[in-house]
Symmetry: C2
DNA sequence: GAAAATTGTTAGTCTAACCTAACTTCTATT
DNA sequence: AATAGAAGTTAGGTTAGACTAACAATTTTC
Protein backbone atom coordinates (compact mmCIF):
# COMPACT_ATOMS: atom_id res chain seq x y z
CA UNK A 1 0.00 0.00 0.00
CA UNK A 2 1.29 3.42 0.89
CA UNK A 3 4.38 4.34 2.84
CA UNK A 4 6.76 2.15 0.95
CA UNK A 5 10.12 3.52 0.00
CA UNK A 6 9.86 6.43 2.39
CA UNK A 7 13.27 7.53 3.59
CA UNK A 8 13.07 8.92 7.08
CA UNK A 9 13.47 12.67 7.32
CA UNK A 10 15.14 14.50 10.17
CA UNK A 11 13.02 16.78 12.30
CA UNK A 12 14.64 19.71 10.64
CA UNK A 13 13.81 18.59 7.17
CA UNK A 14 10.24 17.92 8.23
CA UNK A 15 10.08 21.46 9.54
CA UNK A 16 11.32 22.86 6.28
CA UNK A 17 8.69 20.94 4.36
CA UNK A 18 5.99 22.10 6.71
CA UNK A 19 7.01 25.72 6.44
CA UNK A 20 7.22 25.60 2.66
CA UNK A 21 3.81 23.98 2.58
CA UNK A 22 2.36 26.72 4.71
CA UNK A 23 4.03 29.51 2.74
CA UNK A 24 3.19 28.07 -0.62
CA UNK A 25 -0.49 28.10 0.24
CA UNK A 26 -2.42 28.96 -2.89
CA UNK A 27 0.40 30.51 -4.92
CA UNK A 28 2.21 27.23 -4.65
CA UNK A 29 5.62 28.80 -4.35
CA UNK A 30 7.92 30.02 -1.60
CA UNK A 31 11.11 32.10 -1.52
CA UNK A 32 14.29 31.31 0.34
CA UNK A 33 13.98 34.52 2.31
CA UNK A 34 10.46 33.77 3.48
CA UNK A 35 11.45 30.31 4.59
CA UNK A 36 14.43 31.67 6.48
CA UNK A 37 12.24 34.23 8.23
CA UNK A 38 9.62 31.68 9.29
CA UNK A 39 12.15 29.17 10.50
CA UNK A 40 14.21 31.80 12.20
CA UNK A 41 17.44 30.79 10.47
CA UNK A 42 19.64 32.55 7.92
CA UNK A 43 19.32 32.03 4.23
CA UNK A 44 22.44 29.92 3.75
CA UNK A 45 20.89 27.37 6.06
CA UNK A 46 17.79 27.31 3.92
CA UNK A 47 19.94 26.90 0.88
CA UNK A 48 21.67 23.86 2.26
CA UNK A 49 18.37 22.37 3.31
CA UNK A 50 16.81 22.95 -0.10
CA UNK A 51 19.73 21.21 -1.71
CA UNK A 52 19.13 18.15 0.43
CA UNK A 53 15.39 18.15 -0.09
CA UNK A 54 15.84 18.59 -3.81
CA UNK A 55 18.18 15.61 -3.92
CA UNK A 56 15.53 13.58 -2.20
CA UNK A 57 12.96 14.70 -4.71
CA UNK A 58 10.79 16.56 -2.23
CA UNK A 59 11.23 20.10 -3.53
CA UNK A 60 12.24 21.86 -6.71
CA UNK A 61 14.48 24.81 -6.22
CA UNK A 62 15.30 27.09 -9.13
CA UNK A 63 18.50 28.99 -8.73
CA UNK A 64 17.71 32.51 -7.54
CA UNK A 65 14.10 31.60 -7.88
CA UNK A 66 11.14 29.84 -6.37
CA UNK A 67 10.96 26.81 -4.16
CA UNK A 68 8.06 24.45 -4.76
CA UNK A 69 7.08 21.13 -3.27
CA UNK A 70 6.95 18.09 -5.47
CA UNK A 71 3.99 15.81 -5.22
CA UNK A 72 5.82 13.61 -2.75
CA UNK A 73 6.98 16.66 -0.83
CA UNK A 74 3.41 17.80 -0.51
CA UNK A 75 2.38 14.41 0.83
CA UNK A 76 5.14 14.39 3.42
CA UNK A 77 4.40 17.96 4.44
CA UNK A 78 0.73 17.16 4.83
CA UNK A 79 1.47 14.17 7.02
CA UNK A 80 3.46 16.29 9.39
CA UNK A 81 0.83 18.99 9.35
CA UNK A 82 -1.91 16.52 10.18
CA UNK A 83 0.03 15.24 13.13
CA UNK A 84 0.55 18.77 14.25
CA UNK A 85 -3.14 19.58 14.03
CA UNK A 86 -4.34 16.53 15.87
CA UNK A 87 -1.79 17.07 18.61
CA UNK A 88 -2.76 20.69 18.92
CA UNK A 89 -6.35 19.61 19.26
CA UNK A 90 -5.44 17.10 21.93
CA UNK A 91 -3.43 19.62 23.88
CA UNK A 92 -6.04 22.35 23.74
CA UNK A 93 -9.31 20.41 23.85
CA UNK A 94 -8.26 17.57 26.11
CA UNK A 95 -5.54 18.93 28.28
CA UNK A 96 -6.88 22.46 28.09
CA UNK A 97 -3.47 23.96 27.62
CA UNK A 98 -3.40 27.45 26.27
CA UNK A 99 -2.89 27.97 22.57
CA UNK A 100 0.61 29.27 22.79
CA UNK A 101 1.94 26.39 24.84
CA UNK A 102 -0.03 23.88 22.79
CA UNK A 103 1.37 25.28 19.58
CA UNK A 104 4.92 25.03 20.81
CA UNK A 105 4.52 21.49 22.08
CA UNK A 106 2.68 20.30 18.99
CA UNK A 107 5.65 21.52 16.97
CA UNK A 108 8.01 19.26 18.81
CA UNK A 109 5.81 16.24 19.37
CA UNK A 110 4.72 16.12 15.73
CA UNK A 111 8.13 14.73 14.82
CA UNK A 112 8.04 12.09 17.49
CA UNK A 113 4.82 10.24 16.72
CA UNK A 114 4.23 7.52 14.16
CA UNK A 115 1.43 7.39 11.65
CA UNK A 116 -0.03 4.62 13.74
CA UNK A 117 -0.23 6.76 16.85
CA UNK A 118 -1.58 9.64 14.85
CA UNK A 119 -4.35 7.46 13.50
CA UNK A 120 -5.29 6.20 16.93
CA UNK A 121 -5.58 9.74 18.17
CA UNK A 122 -7.85 10.58 15.28
CA UNK A 123 -10.00 7.58 16.10
CA UNK A 124 -10.15 8.58 19.72
CA UNK A 125 -11.45 11.98 18.73
CA UNK A 126 -14.04 10.45 16.47
CA UNK A 127 -15.09 8.12 19.22
CA UNK A 128 -15.62 11.05 21.57
CA UNK A 129 -16.96 13.25 18.81
CA UNK A 130 -14.37 15.95 19.47
CA UNK A 131 -13.80 18.48 16.74
CA UNK A 132 -11.62 21.57 16.52
CA UNK A 133 -14.54 23.94 16.63
CA UNK A 134 -17.66 22.15 17.86
CA UNK A 135 -18.92 22.07 21.41
CA UNK A 136 -16.87 20.00 23.81
CA UNK A 137 -18.30 16.65 24.76
CA UNK A 138 -19.52 16.26 28.30
CA UNK A 139 -16.46 14.31 29.30
CA UNK A 140 -14.25 17.27 28.55
CA UNK A 141 -16.53 19.78 30.16
CA UNK A 142 -16.32 17.62 33.27
CA UNK A 143 -12.58 17.56 33.04
CA UNK A 144 -12.49 21.32 32.75
CA UNK A 145 -14.47 21.49 35.99
CA UNK A 146 -12.15 19.02 37.60
CA UNK A 147 -9.21 21.19 36.71
CA UNK A 148 -10.69 24.27 38.31
CA UNK A 149 -12.69 22.76 41.15
CA UNK A 150 -10.45 19.82 41.92
CA UNK A 151 -11.38 16.36 43.11
CA UNK A 152 -15.05 17.12 43.64
CA UNK A 153 -15.88 17.12 39.95
CA UNK A 154 -15.54 13.63 38.57
CA UNK A 155 -16.00 11.89 35.30
CA UNK A 156 -19.59 10.80 35.20
CA UNK A 157 -18.81 8.06 32.74
CA UNK A 158 -17.69 6.04 35.70
CA UNK A 159 -19.76 4.77 38.56
CA UNK A 160 -22.92 6.14 37.02
CA UNK A 161 -25.20 3.47 38.42
CA UNK A 162 -24.61 4.01 42.10
CA UNK A 163 -26.92 6.59 43.65
CA UNK A 164 -26.82 10.28 42.80
CA UNK A 165 -29.22 11.06 39.99
CA UNK A 166 -30.96 7.79 40.75
CA UNK A 167 -31.71 8.78 44.32
CA UNK A 168 -31.84 12.41 45.32
CA UNK A 169 -32.71 13.64 41.88
CA UNK B 1 9.87 27.51 43.88
CA UNK B 2 11.38 24.63 41.96
CA UNK B 3 12.76 24.58 38.48
CA UNK B 4 14.88 27.66 38.78
CA UNK B 5 18.37 27.63 37.38
CA UNK B 6 17.69 24.58 35.25
CA UNK B 7 19.79 24.63 32.11
CA UNK B 8 18.00 22.89 29.30
CA UNK B 9 19.43 19.52 28.40
CA UNK B 10 19.55 18.06 24.92
CA UNK B 11 17.51 14.97 24.21
CA UNK B 12 20.69 13.00 24.17
CA UNK B 13 21.81 14.15 27.56
CA UNK B 14 18.37 13.40 28.95
CA UNK B 15 18.67 9.90 27.57
CA UNK B 16 22.01 9.40 29.23
CA UNK B 17 20.61 10.49 32.57
CA UNK B 18 17.64 8.22 32.17
CA UNK B 19 19.78 5.23 31.32
CA UNK B 20 22.16 5.84 34.19
CA UNK B 21 19.21 6.18 36.50
CA UNK B 22 17.80 2.87 35.33
CA UNK B 23 21.14 1.07 35.52
CA UNK B 24 22.09 2.50 38.87
CA UNK B 25 18.92 1.09 40.38
CA UNK B 26 19.71 -0.04 43.89
CA UNK B 27 23.48 -0.27 43.62
CA UNK B 28 23.52 3.40 42.77
CA UNK B 29 26.33 3.08 40.26
CA UNK B 30 26.73 2.43 36.54
CA UNK B 31 29.67 1.57 34.30
CA UNK B 32 30.58 3.20 31.03
CA UNK B 33 30.26 -0.12 29.26
CA UNK B 34 26.75 -0.75 30.54
CA UNK B 35 25.64 2.70 29.52
CA UNK B 36 27.09 2.24 26.05
CA UNK B 37 25.33 -1.09 25.67
CA UNK B 38 21.94 0.25 26.74
CA UNK B 39 22.17 3.34 24.58
CA UNK B 40 23.54 1.39 21.67
CA UNK B 41 26.55 3.65 21.22
CA UNK B 42 30.27 3.05 21.66
CA UNK B 43 32.10 3.84 24.84
CA UNK B 44 33.93 6.94 23.61
CA UNK B 45 30.54 8.54 23.07
CA UNK B 46 29.59 7.77 26.62
CA UNK B 47 32.85 9.22 27.77
CA UNK B 48 32.24 12.49 26.05
CA UNK B 49 28.71 12.64 27.37
CA UNK B 50 29.83 11.95 30.92
CA UNK B 51 32.33 14.74 30.66
CA UNK B 52 29.56 17.15 29.73
CA UNK B 53 27.18 15.93 32.39
CA UNK B 54 29.91 16.07 35.00
CA UNK B 55 30.64 19.67 34.05
CA UNK B 56 26.99 20.46 34.56
CA UNK B 57 27.05 18.80 37.93
CA UNK B 58 24.63 16.04 37.04
CA UNK B 59 26.93 13.04 37.35
CA UNK B 60 30.18 12.09 39.03
CA UNK B 61 32.49 10.03 36.90
CA UNK B 62 35.61 8.50 38.42
CA UNK B 63 38.30 7.77 35.92
CA UNK B 64 38.17 4.09 35.01
CA UNK B 65 35.48 3.74 37.61
CA UNK B 66 31.85 4.24 38.41
CA UNK B 67 29.38 6.77 37.16
CA UNK B 68 26.86 8.03 39.68
CA UNK B 69 24.12 10.62 39.51
CA UNK B 70 24.33 13.66 41.72
CA UNK B 71 21.26 14.74 43.59
CA UNK B 72 20.35 17.13 40.80
CA UNK B 73 21.07 14.46 38.22
CA UNK B 74 18.68 12.14 39.97
CA UNK B 75 15.99 14.79 39.96
CA UNK B 76 16.39 15.46 36.27
CA UNK B 77 16.45 11.76 35.44
CA UNK B 78 13.31 11.19 37.45
CA UNK B 79 11.50 13.98 35.66
CA UNK B 80 12.23 12.42 32.30
CA UNK B 81 11.30 9.00 33.59
CA UNK B 82 7.98 10.25 34.90
CA UNK B 83 7.16 11.77 31.54
CA UNK B 84 8.07 8.53 29.90
CA UNK B 85 5.84 6.51 32.20
CA UNK B 86 2.81 8.70 31.84
CA UNK B 87 3.19 8.76 28.08
CA UNK B 88 3.58 5.02 27.99
CA UNK B 89 0.40 4.75 29.98
CA UNK B 90 -1.41 7.06 27.65
CA UNK B 91 -0.26 5.18 24.58
CA UNK B 92 -1.10 1.75 25.94
CA UNK B 93 -4.20 2.41 28.05
CA UNK B 94 -5.77 5.13 25.95
CA UNK B 95 -4.66 4.55 22.45
CA UNK B 96 -4.28 0.81 22.97
CA UNK B 97 -1.02 0.68 21.12
CA UNK B 98 1.06 -2.37 21.74
CA UNK B 99 3.81 -2.25 24.30
CA UNK B 100 6.65 -2.26 21.86
CA UNK B 101 5.38 0.65 19.77
CA UNK B 102 4.32 2.53 22.89
CA UNK B 103 7.74 2.13 24.41
CA UNK B 104 9.46 3.44 21.32
CA UNK B 105 7.16 6.45 21.01
CA UNK B 106 7.30 7.28 24.70
CA UNK B 107 11.06 7.44 24.37
CA UNK B 108 10.88 10.13 21.75
CA UNK B 109 7.91 12.11 23.01
CA UNK B 110 9.27 12.29 26.55
CA UNK B 111 11.78 14.88 25.39
CA UNK B 112 9.19 16.99 23.68
CA UNK B 113 6.70 17.66 26.44
CA UNK B 114 6.88 20.28 29.15
CA UNK B 115 6.31 19.73 32.84
CA UNK B 116 3.03 21.53 32.39
CA UNK B 117 1.77 19.11 29.79
CA UNK B 118 3.02 16.20 31.83
CA UNK B 119 1.08 17.41 34.83
CA UNK B 120 -2.09 17.84 32.83
CA UNK B 121 -1.82 14.30 31.59
CA UNK B 122 -1.43 13.08 35.14
CA UNK B 123 -4.50 15.01 36.15
CA UNK B 124 -6.44 13.59 33.27
CA UNK B 125 -5.59 10.10 34.40
CA UNK B 126 -6.62 10.89 37.92
CA UNK B 127 -9.84 12.34 36.68
CA UNK B 128 -10.61 9.16 34.77
CA UNK B 129 -9.13 6.97 37.49
CA UNK B 130 -6.74 5.32 35.09
CA UNK B 131 -3.81 3.48 36.60
CA UNK B 132 -1.03 1.41 35.09
CA UNK B 133 -2.36 -1.85 36.45
CA UNK B 134 -5.95 -1.44 37.58
CA UNK B 135 -9.04 -2.21 35.55
CA UNK B 136 -9.72 0.14 32.66
CA UNK B 137 -12.51 2.64 33.18
CA UNK B 138 -15.63 2.13 31.15
CA UNK B 139 -14.72 4.89 28.76
CA UNK B 140 -11.65 3.00 27.66
CA UNK B 141 -13.38 -0.33 27.46
CA UNK B 142 -15.84 1.37 25.15
CA UNK B 143 -13.05 2.77 23.08
CA UNK B 144 -11.49 -0.66 22.81
CA UNK B 145 -14.81 -1.91 21.43
CA UNK B 146 -14.97 1.00 19.07
CA UNK B 147 -11.56 0.12 17.74
CA UNK B 148 -12.50 -3.45 16.99
CA UNK B 149 -16.18 -3.10 16.11
CA UNK B 150 -16.07 0.31 14.53
CA UNK B 151 -18.64 3.06 14.60
CA UNK B 152 -21.33 1.01 16.30
CA UNK B 153 -19.72 1.18 19.71
CA UNK B 154 -19.89 4.71 21.04
CA UNK B 155 -18.87 6.55 24.11
CA UNK B 156 -21.75 6.32 26.49
CA UNK B 157 -20.65 9.43 28.27
CA UNK B 158 -22.37 11.34 25.54
CA UNK B 159 -26.05 11.40 24.76
CA UNK B 160 -26.82 9.25 27.76
CA UNK B 161 -30.21 10.77 28.45
CA UNK B 162 -31.95 9.91 25.23
CA UNK B 163 -33.62 6.50 25.29
CA UNK B 164 -31.73 3.25 25.55
CA UNK B 165 -31.38 2.14 29.14
CA UNK B 166 -34.16 4.53 30.07
CA UNK B 167 -36.64 2.90 27.75
CA UNK B 168 -35.97 -0.68 26.85
CA UNK B 169 -35.08 -1.92 30.31
C1' DG C 1 52.43 -11.98 40.71
C1' DA C 2 52.75 -11.68 35.48
C1' DA C 3 50.34 -12.16 31.19
C1' DA C 4 45.93 -12.03 29.03
C1' DA C 5 41.56 -10.25 28.69
C1' DT C 6 38.45 -6.76 29.65
C1' DT C 7 37.26 -2.15 30.28
C1' DG C 8 37.97 2.69 29.77
C1' DT C 9 40.23 6.79 27.60
C1' DT C 10 42.31 9.79 24.05
C1' DA C 11 42.96 11.53 19.56
C1' DG C 12 41.25 12.40 15.41
C1' DT C 13 37.43 12.02 11.76
C1' DC C 14 32.56 12.45 10.07
C1' DT C 15 27.84 14.44 9.53
C1' DA C 16 24.00 17.51 10.18
C1' DA C 17 22.81 21.79 11.59
C1' DC C 18 23.83 26.24 12.14
C1' DC C 19 26.48 30.70 11.39
C1' DT C 20 29.21 35.01 9.08
C1' DA C 21 31.44 37.24 5.36
C1' DA C 22 32.01 37.79 0.73
C1' DC C 23 30.25 37.29 -3.75
C1' DT C 24 26.60 36.92 -7.56
C1' DT C 25 22.24 37.53 -9.68
C1' DC C 26 18.01 39.70 -10.04
C1' DT C 27 14.84 43.84 -9.85
C1' DA C 28 13.35 48.17 -9.83
C1' DT C 29 14.25 53.09 -10.25
C1' DT C 30 15.70 56.74 -12.67
C1' DA D 1 19.98 50.91 -20.07
C1' DA D 2 22.95 51.70 -15.81
C1' DT D 3 23.16 51.14 -11.33
C1' DA D 4 21.76 50.67 -6.29
C1' DG D 5 19.73 47.69 -3.35
C1' DA D 6 17.52 43.36 -2.33
C1' DA D 7 17.65 38.53 -2.59
C1' DG D 8 20.21 34.37 -3.15
C1' DT D 9 24.53 31.64 -3.20
C1' DT D 10 29.20 30.00 -1.96
C1' DA D 11 33.00 29.32 1.01
C1' DG D 12 34.54 28.37 5.22
C1' DG D 13 33.99 27.99 10.31
C1' DT D 14 31.48 26.09 14.74
C1' DT D 15 29.08 22.73 17.67
C1' DA D 16 26.99 18.42 19.22
C1' DG D 17 26.98 13.93 18.65
C1' DA D 18 28.55 9.83 16.81
C1' DC D 19 32.50 6.74 15.14
C1' DT D 20 37.31 4.05 14.66
C1' DA D 21 41.89 3.09 15.97
C1' DA D 22 45.29 3.21 19.23
C1' DC D 23 46.62 3.45 23.92
C1' DA D 24 46.16 2.91 29.21
C1' DA D 25 44.30 0.98 33.36
C1' DT D 26 42.16 -2.62 35.76
C1' DT D 27 40.80 -7.24 36.62
C1' DT D 28 41.12 -12.10 36.03
C1' DT D 29 43.41 -16.24 35.50
C1' DC D 30 47.00 -19.39 35.85
Amino acid sequence: MLDVNVEKLSENMEDYLEVIHALAGDKGVARVGEIAAKMDVKSPSVNAAMKQLAERGLVVHQRYGYVTLTKEGRVRAAEVQEKHDVLFMFLTQFLMLDYKVAEREACSIEHAISQETYQRLVKFFKFLRVSPDGAKPKLLRNFADYLTKGESAVCDCEKPARGRKALGK
